[in-house]
Amino acid sequence: MSASRPVDRAALVAAALPGVAFALLLAAAIGLLAATLGPEARAQAWALVEPNVALVVMVWFFASLAAGVAMHGAWNRFAAAPARLAERVRVLLTAEPAAAEAGDGPLPEGLAILDAGEGASEGSIALTAAVAALVLQRDSLRREIAERIAEGSREVEQEKSRLAALMAELTQSVVVCNLDGRILLFNARARLQFRALVAAPSTAAGGGAAGTAGGTAGGLIGGAEPIGLGRSIYGVLDRRLVAHALEAVQQRLARGAAHPSAQFVTPTKGGQLLRVQLAPVKESGASPDGGAGPALNGFVLMLENITQQMAEERARERLLHTLTEGSRGSIGNLQAAVELLEDPALDAPTRERFLGVIREEIGALARRLDEAAAQSATALEQRWPLEDMLGSDFVAAAVRRLQGTPGLAAEAGAVDGELWLKVESYSLIQALRHLAVRLAQAYDVPRVTLRLAAAEQQGVRRAQLDLAFPVAAMSTETVVGWETEPLEDEEGGTGGTLTLRDVVQRHGGAFWFERERARQEGRFRFLLPLAGDGAPLEESAVVRHDSRPEFYDFNLFAARAMQPGDALGEQRLADLSYTVFDTETTGLKPSEGDRIIQIGATRIVAGRLRRQEAFEQLVDPERPLSEAGIAIHGIRPEMLEGQPRLAEVLPAFHAFAHDTVLVAHNAAFDMRFLQLAEAGTGVRFEQPVLDTLLLSAVVHPNQENHSLEAIAGRLGVTVLGRHTALGDAMVTAEVFVKLVPLLQGMGITTLGEALAASEATYLARLQY
């Protein structure tokens, strides 16, 4: 309530006021009186008053006191109280919401501060109550808003998750970019596809490099992914092609097409052929301005590797060509010879020669036929979309579905676990189910067994799928009939016209019924295609560090594209992308011939560390290592054998760090190495560089130790895997991420300010 209040000047003034007023009044009265009276009357009056002056003064004093106290009280009550109330209310403006509900009567706990205190006037109390009510209302409003926001965020999170799931599962490669070509989103398939495309051409035919980040698997230098969040798509695709497609789309949009798209085919550096479809991302909520159509925000690319397809097309064409054009010649020869054989005037040797021609040509035709047949057996299969599926998975799925049929038990028998099938699993399982149902109906078969093995005929390997069952007698006629019946769907209806024969044809396979009398077993045998060797981008080992894959960042949608006019220095630290790197070297003297032996780097985009976008590469220094150095960085000479030289690695690193700000600890050291390498490699690093050592000195100027360990310790960053380039880069990156908000707290928000502050600290440190 009322703690000891500091002496209130105004109140004191108020208290003193009456006294002063009375004194003035008295003096005025006496003065007036004295002025009106004559000198004699004055002397008489004075003689009367003189003995009682003390009394007059006392009266004045007590009157003043009384009035003063009254004034003081009145002041506190009426004038000061509102001011105090105002102070307390101001406190509540910034306080946490009160817990209780509003109501009449005593104020709730949180608002007790508003209590006007004892002796408050009616008006004051009423005011206090009203303010309290307002505060409570405000708090409940705030709570409501917070709830709504939370709800909204939950919904957005859900949408994000759904979209993320969709992107992850799409079998097409999808990449979403903003208008500058900066990658905002992509899915796992796109990442795999690009990795495979950038790999050495010798691993072509979709074989794909199985390299994970780190190491030279598949020929990728530094394990650097060709695409990543915030990176430019023009690193992989030709800018002009994309621009042309964008233009076409914009034109169509302007003409009023609802969902225009453009496509183009482009060869990639790896020698593969890519079909790219481009669709626009329109500005949400933007009103179309006149006839120009809605504004574009970015675009979506859908990519498909059609190298295989194209190759198949070409093979088909060649085959057709061989059979038509190629055969004409042979048939021509035959025709001529046969017609001339009719000539009665032919003598025996000539007849023999013509017969020889006929034999030869027939041989040639037959050979050509065999070759064509051999080619077509595997490569030119039906154009039905077939999927690669592990045989055992397929059998398991089929058994599960068959179990559902009434009156029938299904089980898996001997299954070759290594086989990869190329099937349209839904219709195939439908066909199997159809057979099972018929078996149960017609022959009361209690149980069916599925078996899978490999079989070879005429040099062609296929999968042999058996649906086996115990049976005593069966009519082959009935069975043949099943082959051409329409397959039943789920509810037992035969709405479709798909037959078992159609399904088998789709797979380019075969189907028949065999009976093993000895074992009293019948079986339906399917021959199905096996998945090819160049296969599936089925890399289940997508390296995931978190439960949710890291390559979705919807925040980037809001990130402003860096306009060419923007001075880089004006960019906010929080908005920029960074490449944080570290090098291991043969020694500490760059100008005396020491060389880089390892470069490690990681990216920070939109304030978050991109763990999956890492660069790590050992470099052959072309000079021996010192023992002391080996003791520090642990890189032995054997590890450097066969590694690429700096001339190859630096361009790759330059591409990795393209369009980012470089960050390193004690950056001068690393940059010196890079600078010295300029002449030999022709690679120039022109981006701005931030040094975490200097930034730490800016933020904690009173600390002595700015080594990486010390800073990490201060900022609460765990240090693991030190003295590998990538490990150090990761620690530096985490330190940097923690430094940015601390810099912001000091008023350093833009890159320019950070650089300036760094420079100031640097000079200060130099003077030490």
Binding site: L365, A377, R462, L527
Partner: protein, 121 residues
């Protein structure tokens, strides 16, 4: 007792040559021009061997084969499939259904004669 051989094929141009060939080898030759005829002939004539084409009207060679193998009475029959269908799946199907041999057209008459001799022991 001459060995009976049945030729089942709908294409007259090949039947001519096959008939001549088999007769020259010394077999008694019967001819069927479609699937149903072939099956009926098998049961009536009871040949030792049949040269069976696949692509025939009314019943395919595969169907004839399946029926023949299901028929107890035709147990000892030798089946030599002689057809233009030469894919690996076709061959697998023929052999799976119980053919004793499978030859793809075009073929050498000598090879065919040799195979027949082999099958008939």
């Amino acid at each position: 007792m001459t060995t009976r051989v049945l030729i089942a094929d709908d294409e007259p141009n090949i039947v001519i040559s096959l008939e001549y060939l088999m007769k020259r080898e010394g077999y008694e030759v019967h001819v069927a021009r479609d699937g149903e005829e072939a099956l009926a002939a098998l049961r009536r004539v009871r040949p030792a061997l049949v040269l069976l084409d696949v692509m025939m009207p009314r019943k395919s060679g595969y169907e004839v084969l399946a029926a023949a193998r299901a028929d107890e009475a035709l147990a000892g029959l030798k089946v030599l499939m002689l057809t233009a269908k030469g894919r690996d799946t076709d061959v697998a199907q023929g052999l799976g259904l119980g053919a004793d041999a499978y030859m793809t057209k075009p073929f050498s008459t000598q090879a065919l004669a040799a195979k027949v001799r082999e099958l008939l022991g």
